[in-house]
């Protein structure tokens, strides 16, 4: 039985999420303060406009990727595969990140105003969910490593 997600798709996901994580983190004014910009090749991380626009581009790519995979899931894979608990949590986190990000994009349109309190709530939720998604990926990686180790010691 072949599992549905190709290597190409997995890599696209990892790349897009890495871009979003880095450019998203750089929306906080830390690149200059912590001299990240002094690291050769990383000066661009201090350019708020560049990282902001790259974050938008990454978001567009993520939207396309997620809707592509969701469509295929609904049309094809759902019948043959079940989501693991990890997969379910990840889908939920991604949905939350996309929704809060969309609200922020909306707020940035001309003629749209949000009061500080809801804006802050949306920003913090976006950041919090992104951190959780990162932690989840880390836990999954560690568990996968442990499983490989365990299986190599277990008698067959």
């Amino acid at each position: 039985m072949s599992l549905p997600v190709s290597r190409r798709m997995s890599w696209a996901y990892v790349l897009v999420l890495s871009l979003l994580a880095v450019t998203g983190a750089m929306q906080m004014p830390i690149a200059s303060r912590y001299r990240i910009v002094a690291v050769p090749g990383l000066a661009w991380l201090g350019d708020f406009w560049l990282t902001h626009r790259l974050h938008y581009l990454g978001a567009i790519a993520l939207l396309a990727l997620c809707s592509y995979l969701t469509t295929r899931w609904l049309l094809e894979w759902r019948r043959s595969y079940a989501l693991t608990a990890f997969g379910l949590v990840r889908a939920g986190l991604l949905a939350g990140i996309i929704a809060t990000g969309a609200v922020r994009v909306l707020k940035n349109l001309p003629n749209v105003s949000f009061a500080p309190a809801p804006t802050m709530l949306v920003d913090w939720t976006h950041l919090g969910l992104a951190v959780l998604l990162g932690l989840l990926a880390l836990v999954r990686l560690v568990l996968a490593r442990l499983a490989v180790k365990a299986s190599s010691f277990r008698p067959r």
């Binding site: 599992l3 290597r7 929306q27 004014p29 626009r53 790519a61 809707s67 094809e76 693991t84 940035n108």
Partner: protein, 350 residues
């Protein structure tokens, strides 16, 4: 004068959410039910008739007096900063400064002297935040401290601001000014994050809420400034510019601001004549900083459509071509958290 309401959804937000398939979000966001009412609200714009300004500074005094209760009272000693190269900014010992913007001086008079069409000019320009229509300071604030309100007032909440000064970096005129030793950062990790609070003209939002005019508008003995709804004031600015054969600054700068200046001398000449630098904004042409973001926001609407079509086409080609593998040129990969099949027929995938 309309009292501003704190949260300001409008139809375009609804439409945008709906097109993202997130229409339900509109229901959970505060005051979505006031959508219809907000259509009636209009941004407030100020008009400076620069032919009238004599540079007396009465507006500057009035601003300082009316807003004195909002000025920072920093706690000393300032927390040590990490890394040590991070500079504190302390204006509290220089409160008397009035010839530039500081956290204690939100308005100052910029003067330009020179020749235009063979005539000498001395023009005085009261300078402060422009209250941009789509303000980068508010849009890029990562913390939600800066916000544009429905009546066009752009304001930084001193209770929330951490003083990272990003708003100043992204503002075309570098308007917000920092005072160290005040605000929320003191209660978080003062050594590692934040550095005070950013201050700038808040258009006397509290006076507006009471139906009063901003202090600077009211105090001017020469009636240099006017404030009113955008459509009125823009029309007035154009009429004035026609009358004096003059020029307008602020209508289209940075995609449009709610502060219009009308001058008999072109603004590029004034820009060359004024002293610009820290705390002293220029009068340069400012392109719309948020234009790319606005375009990308609309492009983002098509991304899910493209993804869905691509996904559906994939199924179509499989059904018609009998191609069973996924990406035919690529080996399907087992995702790291795909467990063993949980029954004979069904695999797991995340």
């Amino acid at each position: 004068m309309k009292k501003h309401t704190p949260c300001t959804p409008n139809l375009s937000r609804r439409r945008f959410l709906a097109s993202l398939g997130l229409g339900g979000l509109g229901l959970v966001l505060p005051s979505a039910s006031h959508a219809a009412k907000s259509l009636a609200d209009e941004e407030l714009v100020t008009l400076h008739d620069l032919t009238k300004c004599v540079g007396c500074g009465a507006c500057v005094d009035a601003c300082r007096e009316a807003n004195a209760h909002k000025f920072p009272e920093p706690v000393r000693p300032f927390p040590p900063m990490f890394p040590a190269s991070v500079k504190v900014e302390d204006w509290s010992t220089k409160r008397q400064i009035i010839d530039r913007l500081t956290p204690y001086n939100w308005l100052y008079i910029q003067s330009a002297h020179g020749q235009f069409q063979g005539q000498r000019f001395d023009i005085h320009i009261p300078r402060r935040c422009m209250h941009c229509q789509n303000p980068p300071c508010a849009n890029l604030c990562p913390w939600g401290a800066a916000a544009r309100e429905k009546n066009g007032v752009v304001r930084i909440d001193p209770e929330i601001c951490l003083g990272g000064a990003k708003c100043k970096t992204v503002c075309p005129w570098a308007i917000p000014m920092r005072q160290t030793g005040v605000g929320l950062y003191l209660k978080l990790m003062p050594r590692y994050g934040g550095n005070g609070v950013m201050y700038k003209c808040d258009r006397c939002y509290d006076r507006l809420a009471k139906g009063q005019k901003p202090a600077c508008v009211e105090a001017c003995p020469y009636g240099v400034q006017e404030i009113g709804p955008r459509s009125d004031i823009v029309a007035k600015a154009h009429a004035l510019a026609r009358n004096i054969d003059g020029y307008i600054y602020g209508e289209t700068e940075n995609g449009g601001t709610n502060s219009l200046y009308v001058s008999p001398v072109p603004f590029d000449i004034l820009d060359a004549a004024v002293t610009a630098g820290p705390g002293k904004p220029d009068l340069a042409k400012a392109p719309d900083k948020m234009a790319d973001e606005t375009r990308m926001a609309y492009a983002a609407l098509f991304a899910p459509v493209a993804g869905i079509i691509a996904g559906a086409l994939r199924l179509g080609s499989r059904l018609s071509g009998g191609d069973d593998a996924d990406e035919t040129d690529d080996t399907p990969k087992r995702p790291p958290d795909a467990g063993t099949p949980d029954d004979e027929h069904k695999g797991t995938w995340s």
